[in-house]
């Protein structure tokens, strides 16, 4: 029994994405990941008395770029506000964020689930600073007498993207998140390195009886750092809420935390449950006026985005599935385009990239970003197949060789003697031997068993180590078997 038999899920997501700047939002400290604790800090990001923050221009550029990529309106006037709360990861006791006048609002992304597409609305996107990192002395925060704080992340620029409560199933939520992250990655707004925590999600979820138009009471689950975590967490939380409602009880509106190990969400009942952030305009930063020229300058730098790329690839003859796979990875999509410049046969290129090349990269634990087979090498190899210089089967071996040695395909074919045998005389000799050694198959074929021909072709290929031209083999075999 699933919650879906009786209830419909309503879900919205807040996505925090780290912007791809060199320095922090209000100071010149580096945003580089992995520095030793408290080595990327200065008086500004440590919140020492008497310092003044100065906004990083690139943060605004990237926020505008993200907004445009997400079909948002870009504010003409925007400002920062203080969000006040006490927590040791926040040295100033407030987070500099945006409250009532965010830089972006009213956008959308196209989400597709099993061939059905709909718009996932974006309410707003605003700029803010990240907090520091806590390291607890015990196993958990409650079991710790003290904690260590590393402020390297403090002040790293974030964009918080708030969706409308438009998602109605776990699949829709995942589709929304994948599309969102892909767009931000393509646009170059963020590196989107999930494993480094540069993208984090807070989900708001509630259930309502099927057919109902009202929203149920929602819970918020904070700080999920992967698509898998979001999926597992929502699958758990929807069933938990359904069980509460089935008993005739009420869901409590609260913030919960996802326990990855136990696979459950837990209530976070702290004393300061009432969110009372007492926002007010940040007096240390002056407001921003974003003229339309600025917006247009940024728009001109937007690259082709995933949806447009998918449509273009479909126009080249790829299926929706193939176009989806190729564009799901920015580096793979770029690789595809580079191969196509020299060998413009979309289907063939897609097959090799998604098949043999992906398999080699997976086995070697590498990605298209650092693919040892250069796009021109794959294109050259495909041209050699077309010219009949190598067979499709031999090409697989050639590709493996390019992958491991980095040598060009022509050199490999020459070195390893992989050139296709197109000499009829030589082939005839080999074929005669194969026929002499397989009298039963010959008799079968002559007796009407068409299948026997395939076996004989196989034997010829085996005898030539796959180097025989298959069409020629077929032709000669048929002649000889007449």
């Amino acid at each position: 029994m699933s919650y879906q038999d009786k209830y419909e899920m309503v879900c919205g997501v807040e996505t925090h994405v780290e912007l791809a700047t060199k320095t922090k939002i209000f100071c010149g400290c580096t945003t580089e990941f992995g520095g030793e604790q408290n080595t990327h800090v200065c008086p500004v990001c440590l919140g020492l008395p008497g310092v003044l923050p100065v906004l990083n221009r690139e943060v605004v550029n990237l926020a505008i770029k993200a907004g445009l990529a997400l079909n948002c309106e870009i504010a003409e006037f925007t400002k920062f506000d203080r969000k006040n709360y006490y927590y040791p990861d926040l040295p100033k006791n407030y987070q500099t964020s945006q409250y009532d006048l965010p830089i972006c609002k009213k956008g959308w992304v196209e989400i597709e689930v099993i061939g059905k597409s709909k718009k996932g609305g974006i309410t707003r996107a605003h700029m803010e600073e990240d907090a520091g990192k806590l390291v607890h002395s015990g196993d958990s925060i409650t079991a710790s007498d003290s904690s260590g704080v590393d402020y390297n992340r403090t002040g790293v620029p974030l964009l918080e993207i708030v969706s409308e409560p438009d998602m109605r199933s776990v699949d829709e939520v995942i589709a929304y998140l994948q599309e969102l992250v892909q767009i931000l990655d393509y646009a170059g707004v963020s590196d989107c390195r999930m494993e480094q925590g540069s993208v984090r999600f807070d989900v708001n979820v509630s259930l309502r009886p099927l057919g109902s138009k009202d929203f149920g009471t929602r819970t918020e689950i904070k700080n999920l750092n992967s698509f898998t975590a979001v999926r597992r967490c929502l699958e758990y939380e929807t069933e938990r809420q359904a069980a509460v409602l089935d008993k005739g009880e009420k869901v409590i509106q609260e913030t919960r935390t996802w326990d990855e190990n136990q696979g459950v969400t837990l209530s976070l009942r702290t004393k300061e449950e009432a969110h009372d952030y007492r926002y007010f305009p940040e007096p240390d930063l002056v407001p921003l006026k974003i003229d339309r020229d600025w917006v247009e300058r940024i728009r001109a730098t937007l690259p082709e985005l995933p949806a447009a790329k998918r449509e273009r690839l479909k126009g080249l003859g790829l299926s929706a599935y193939e176009a989806g796979i190729i564009t799901s990875n920015k580096a793979m999509a770029g690789y595809f385009d580079q191969v196509m410049q020299k060998y413009p046969e979309a289907k063939v290129v897609a097959n090799w990239i998604m098949g043999d090349l992906s398999a080699l990269l997976n086995a070697g634990n590498q990605s298209f970003e650092d693919c040892p087979v250069k796009p021109y090498q794959l294109a050259d190899m495909l041209l050699m197949i077309d010219k009949g210089e190598i067979s499709g089967k031999i090409a697989k071996t050639v590709l493996e060789e390019i992958y491991s040695s980095g040598k060009d395909p022509a050199a490999i074919v020459k070195e390893k003697g992989l050139v296709q045998i197109k000499d009829e005389g030589a082939l005839e000799k080999i074929i005669s031997e194969v026929l002499a050694n397989n009298p039963k198959s010959v008799a079968d074929y002559r007796g009407g068993k068409e299948k026997a021909l395939g076996f004989l072709v196989g034997q010829v290929m085996k005898a030539t180590q796959g180097k025989a031209n298959p069409e020629l083999v077929n032709k000669i075999l048929k002649e000889k078997l007449k």
Binding site: T23, T30, Q37, N56, R57, K79, Y151, K271
Partner: protein, 94 residues
């Protein structure tokens, strides 16, 4: 507008202040007299006045995205009441 003792206790909690009953009384009185001043402001008609975002008429103060040296860690931790292994050390959080 009048502020209650409960509200003072809530504000004290948010500010992480531990107040004695006498202090709660004192601050309730003091904050109420401050709020009375704001009542005077509330009597002004602001129907056609844009909300103020900042006290000075200045916009777009920006810096370029260029890395500047950070503080040496000893300096960063110098005034910390407690530090350990390069971390700021803080007492039990919850």
């Amino acid at each position: 507008m009048k502020i209650s003792q409960q509200e003072i206790e809530h504000i004290a909690l948010l500010a992480r202040l531990k107040l004695t009953p006498e202090e709660i009384n004192l601050y309730t009185e003091q904050l109420n007299s401050i709020l009375e001043c704001f009542d005077m402001l509330n009597r002004i008609d602001t129907t056609n006045v844009e909300p103020t975002a900042h006290a000075v008429e200045l916009y777009n103060v920006l810096r370029e995205d260029e890395v500047q040296p950070s503080l040496p860690r000893e300096k960063a931790l110098q005034n910390a009441p407690q530090a350990e292994d390069g971390f700021f050390k803080v007492p039990r959080i919850v």
